[in-house]
Every structure is written in structure tokens, then in C-alpha cells.
């Protein structure tokens, strides 16, 4: 082929090529545009058991089907960790009552945390701070922290945002959940909102034996009834076990912080883990930790903020002993003088708080 002919063909291709570019610009939406994807938020209904009010929801983060679904995907997706090895669920597995059943939780690469993971059941009702030390007030704020924690997911939100924006599916899910118009609007704040929606949806199914007895659908055994009476200090010949003051029904927590006599200290500043004290700076808050829910306590071993007790029998024995005194010891922590039979009855009652239907609820399982 002669050179003039080749030049002519090349010129023709160039012209056609330029024309094609113009066509793409005319018909393709702007980069990252999501407005072609429908945004029809449908309210997500959370059923609550007897004696529960509707879950409290912040006005700027109402639960929607798409929002909870997005939160669930993020919760189980290791994309939030620096090496894509861990998800939120690593420390909050349904089978473990939404804990990891570890004495101390581990982060990426085996990094060792300082505390045992807390159950997420009914966290919508945790109205007095989150974490063992209450350092965060809302689920939306809480969801932001583990991603950048040096002993948890070790990532950076800026990088996570880029990963989510470039993902095949998340832009659509963020659009459906929050109505964003462009992938660039995917942010850590929206991710946290979605995670909070999912966490808020994890509510007791109300199908524990305790719930059924309260609903008059079933009866306690004698041992369970004795345990119930001691737990709630019912009048009678049985000793008061004082449990219900800090683990009051129906949440089986009062959302308060206590020194429950775990450690012997000379001064309140001597607690190895200062707990609430590190947050408030108040000397009398040192060594205080959140009273966790006892719902599904059967599945959340080991127990206490540092996982020091492997069994519920050990926990009961600790409270029976009266613990270690301190200037801020809760006044109801005192020797209980429970007999072996009393302790067995108390344990029998605690086991009535188990509700596997909550733990096995398909809506809370890994979607991947």
C-alpha cells in the first residue's frame, strides 16, 4: 500500500475516532453518577419483645431496608480492615452472642486488644454510652472507631472510602440507602450510619424462656424460680443475690457503670484498667465498667471486661464473695452467703435468658 493511501486511511480513522469520542461524551453520564439508580427508601421495621418500647432512632438516621442491608454487608466485609483480613463481625459473631468468645479481642495480624468484646444485642437501647468505658454516646460515633484503631482493623477511613467508591456493588447500595447522587459522596459518615442501622436492628427476639414466662406462656422450674427470686430480691426465705439492681429486666442491664469489686487496689488510681475513670477523669469512676446485658449470657463467655472468668459459676462465686472493697465499690457488692444450691438455682435462672432465635436470625447472618 502506498504511503498517501495509508495517510488517507489514518486520517479517516482519526476523524471517525474523534467523532466516536464526542458520541461517548454525549451519552455517558458524568463519572460516578448514580442518579439512574432508583432511590425508594422503605422503612425497616424492628420487632421488639414484650416490655420493650419501640427502638430509639436518631432523627437523621431512620432505619430503612436498604440502610440495614448496607450496614449488614459492611459489618461482615473485611474491606474495612487494612489487609482485608477482618470485619467487624470478627469480634461480634452471632454464635457467640455477638461477642468473639475471646478473653481479649484480637485485631489485624493478631494485635492484642485490652478488653473482651461486648455483645451487640439490644445496643439500640444502650442509652448511656457505649464500650466498656462509655466513651462514645451513639452507635454512629462508635462505628467509626474500630476501623482506625491500632489493635482492631488498623485501616484509614480515607482509604476505605476510596475502596468503597471503586467497589462494584457498594455505590449502588449507598445510593439505595442514602440517596447519594455520585460515588464521591460515599463517606465514612454514611458507612457509620449504615453500620449503626444494622446494629440497631439486632434486638432480642423475645423468645427466651424468661420472655415466655413473663408472657405467661410457660413456667419456670422450681430451680429457675428460686434463681429468679434471688436475682430480683423477691421477699421470702431465699437470700438476695442483688443481681437485678445492675442487670435489670427487660434489658438485663441498667446501662450504668460500676466497680463490682474485681480488683484489690490501694488507691483508686491503681486499677490496671481505669475504665470509666479514663473517660471522665473522676477519681471515683476509676475501675468502673459498664454492666453488660445478661441476655444470652450463656453464649458470651468469657466474662467481665477482661474476660477473667471462663464460666458463669466463677462469676457467681465472685459476687458471692463480695469482691474487693474500694472507696467506690458499689454498695450492693457484699458477701451474699449463697449456698451451693442457691448458686445452682441462680445459674438455672441465668440460662433462661438464652434465646438462640436471636442468634440464628437470618437477618443478622453473614450475607456473603
Amino acid at each position: 500500500m502506498r504511503i498517501p493511501t495509508l495517510i488517507s486511511i489514518a486520517t479517516l480513522i482519526f476523524i471517525i475516532g474523534c467523532g466516536a469520542d464526542d458520541d461517548v461524551i454525549d451519552f455517558m453520564p458524568p463519572v460516578g453518577d448514580l442518579t439512574d439508580i432508583p432511590y425508594n427508601p422503605m422503612p425497616y421495621n424492628v420487632e421488639v419483645p414484650i416490655q420493650f418500647p419501640p427502638i430509639p432512632v436518631p432523627p437523621n438516621n431512620a432505619l430503612t431496608e436498604a440502610g440495614v442491608s448496607l450496614g449488614r454487608h459492611l459489618f461482615y466485609d473485611p474491606i474495612l480492615s487494612v489487609d482485608s483480613s477482618m470485619a467487624c463481625a470478627a469480634c461480634h459473631l452471632p454464635v457467640g452472642g455477638f461477642t468473639d468468645n475471646q478473653k481479649i479481642s484480637f485485631g489485624v495480624g493478631g494485635a492484642t486488644g485490652t478488653r473482651s468484646s461486648m455483645s451487640l444485642i439490644n445496643s439500640a437501647f444502650y442509652l448511656n454510652g457505649l464500650f466498656w468505658d462509655g466513651r462514645i454516646q451513639s452507635l454512629e460515633e462508635q462505628a467509626l472507631l474500630p476501623v482506625e484503631d491500632d489493635v482492631e482493623l488498623m485501616h484509614q477511613w480515607g482509604d476505605v472510602e476510596i475502596d468503597l467508591q471503586n467497589h462494584d456493588e457498594y455505590p449502588t447500595m449507598f445510593r439505595q440507602a442514602f440517596g447519594i447522587e455520585n460515588v464521591s459522596q460515599i463517606s465514612k459518615e454514611l458507612a457509620a450510619k449504615a453500620l449503626a442501622q444494622f446494629e440497631r436492628s439486632i434486638v432480642s427476639a423475645g423468645n427466651s424462656k424468661y420472655d415466655r414466662v413473663i408472657a405467661l406462656d410457660e413456667f419456670f422450674t422450681d430451680a429457675e424460680q428460686n434463681g429468679f427470686d434471688m436475682f430480683f430480691d423477691a421477699p421470702g426465705d431465699l437470700p438476695d443475690a442483688e443481681c437485678g439492681h445492675c442487670h435489670n429486666a427487660p434489658l438485663f442491664t441498667t446501662n450504668e457503670y460500676f466497680n463490682n469489686g474485681l480488683d484489690a487496689v490501694v488507691s483508686l488510681f491503681d486499677f490496671e484498667d481505669p475504665g470509666l475513670g479514663a473517660v471522665t477523669g473522676n477519681e471515683f469512676d476509676y475501675g468502673k465498667f459498664r454492666a453488660p446485658t445478661l441476655r444470652n449470657i450463656e453464649f458470651t463467655a468469657p466474662y467481665m471486661h477482661d474476660g477473667r472468668f471462663e464460666t458463669l459459676e466463677e462469676v457467681i462465686e465472685h459476687y458471692n464473695s463480695g469482691g474487693h472493697t474500694a472507696d467506690n465499690l458499689d454498695p450492693l457488692i457484699q458477701p451474699l452467703q449463697l449456698t451451693e444450691e442457691n448458686k445452682a438455682d441462680l445459674l438455672a435462672f441465668l440460662l433462661t435468658l438464652s434465646d438462640t432465635t436471636t442468634l440464628q436470625n437470618p437477618a443478622y447472618q453473614n450475607p456473603f
Binding site: 418500647p53 439492681h245 427487660p250 446501662n255 471515683f284 472493697t325
Partner: protein, 254 residues
């Protein structure tokens, strides 16, 4: 006569317009705001939690918790031998421990005028006390945000909590005490405090409540804390009765 007939429609229009004007110019009721401020004392001193030791019958005492429900709060004025009340609020929770010993409640849009006093109760009135936390929104004072103040075994809210420590003497074990009151029998009923209060438009006034915890312990004879360190069950009413009986004479209002 013909001219009068012509004028008739105008009279009708004028009448209709004037009726509308009457409705429009009805004066708005004059209203204003009022603060209720609550502070706790121990005798002559401000109550300080945990860090201050107070003298109690020759022993050292410290306080770690003090709170209560206040309910059926209303201003009153005496009119021709009768008491006319203006409700302020049905119930609220006064938590000195979490609020550095000072709680303020703002009441808005109250009718201006002169009032002769305030009436209130300590505790939860029976119509509310027959309900459970799940019956209220989570943020209501009687809702899940205050679950520590409901006691299912009593079928009652815990109306007030006073907790602390008593150091009897060197070498003796300290006594941790907790006085929780509750159940309909321990509702204070109406407590009246007279005051001269003139509410005016544009001026937010404050009624100060001072609660003397020392008087709650001592009035009518000192509560024997060593013998009765707890009152968190209905089988231990000695201390609860002492505390509840002393609320009315331990509260001053000005």
C-alpha cells in the same frame, strides 16, 4: 328608602368584616418562662459526692449517689379561699450525682401573674407507677434511659436513691449504705411550699429548691445506718420510711 336599600349590602359587608376583625384581634395570652433549680446540701454545705466526709453522729460519712423523681409540679394561687393550680410538668428525674449537684428545669409559656406557692410530690404517682419502662419512650424519665429506677419485684419505680459510706471508727469495717424508696405506699403525696412569685412577660424567674440531705438522715432522730444499711427491698422499710417521712421538711423553696 331607596337609598337605604342601596346601602344595605354595604352594611352587611361592614358587619361581616368587623366580625372577622374581632376574631383576629383577640389578645394573645401573656406568657413567660420559669426555671426550677434544684441543689442538694448537707447541712450548711453544698453536697459533694464521694470526696467530702461529713460528720454523722461522730462518724465520717460520704455520699456517692442522690436522686429522686419529682412529680405533679404546679404553681398555685389562692383565690377566694380556693387553690387554683397551673401545672408545670407531670414528672421529671432529679439526678444530682450526674449533674454536679445542680439540676435546672425550664418551664415555658406559663401565664403571667402572681402566684402564692408551688406544690409537688416526691416519687411516682400511682397512675404512672402502675406502668413499666417499656410503656414510655426510651428517653422519657420513666423509660429505658432510667431502667435502674424500676424494680419489677415491687411493681414499682424506685422513687429515690441515696447511697454512700459510713466510717464508724478506726479499725472498724466501713458500712456501704443504700436507701432506695419505692411502691405506692412511699409516695410523698402533695408537698406545698408557699412563696411570693410574680411572673412577668420577658422576665425568666427562678424558683430554687434546696434539699438538705443531713436533715433527711437526722430529722425525727438519727437514722441508725449501721443497723439499717439498706432499704432496697419492701421487707426493709425502716430506713425507707425514715427517708420518705423527712423529704417534706428537708426541702426549702425560695
Amino acid at each position: 328608602m331607596k337609598k337605604l336599600l342601596y346601602l344595605f349590602p354595604f352594611y352587611c359587608l361592614l358587619l361581616a368584616t368587623s366580625c372577622g376583625d374581632d376574631t383576629a384581634v383577640l389578645p394573645e395570652p401573656e406568657v413567660t418562662d420559669l426555671n426550677l433549680t434544684f441543689r442538694a446540701n448537707f447541712g450548711d454545705a453544698d453536697l459533694d459526692f464521694n470526696t467530702t466526709s461529713y460528720d454523722y453522729e461522730g462518724m465520717e460519712m460520704s455520699i456517692s449517689k442522690f436522686d429522686f423523681f419529682i412529680s405533679n409540679v404546679a404553681l398555685y394561687k389562692n383565690v377566694d379561699g380556693n387553690q387554683e393550680q397551673t401545672e408545670l410538668f407531670e414528672i421529671d428525674f432529679i439526678d444530682f450525682t450526674q449533674n454536679n449537684n445542680e439540676v435546672t428545669i425550664l418551664n415555658q409559656d406559663l401565664p403571667v401573674g402572681e402566684y402564692d406557692g408551688i406544690v409537688f410530690s416526691i416519687g411516682v404517682p400511682s397512675d404512672l407507677n402502675s406502668q413499666i419502662p417499656g410503656d414510655f419512650s426510651s428517653t422519657h424519665p420513666l423509660g429505658f434511659s432510667n431502667l435502674s429506677h424500676y424494680w419489677a419485684d415491687w411493681n414499682s419505680y424506685i422513687f429515690s436513691k441515696i447511697e454512700g459510706r459510713l466510717m464508724p471508727a478506726p479499725g472498724q469495717d466501713e458500712v456501704f449504705f443504700s436507701y432506695h424508696t419505692g411502691s405506692d405506699d412511699f409516695f410523698s403525696g402533695a408537698i406545698e411550699k408557699s412563696l411570693s412569685l410574680n411572673l412577668e412577660v420577658g422576665v425568666t424567674k427562678t424558683i430554687n429548691f434546696e434539699i438538705d440531705l443531713q436533715n433527711i438522715f437526722l430529722s425525727g432522730g438519727a437514722l441508725d445506718i449501721q443497723t439499717y444499711p439498706h432499704s432496697h427491698s419492701l421487707s426493709e422499710t425502716t430506713a425507707a420510711t425514715h427517708v420518705v417521712n423527712n423529704y417534706p421538711n428537708s426541702i426549702t423553696v425560695n
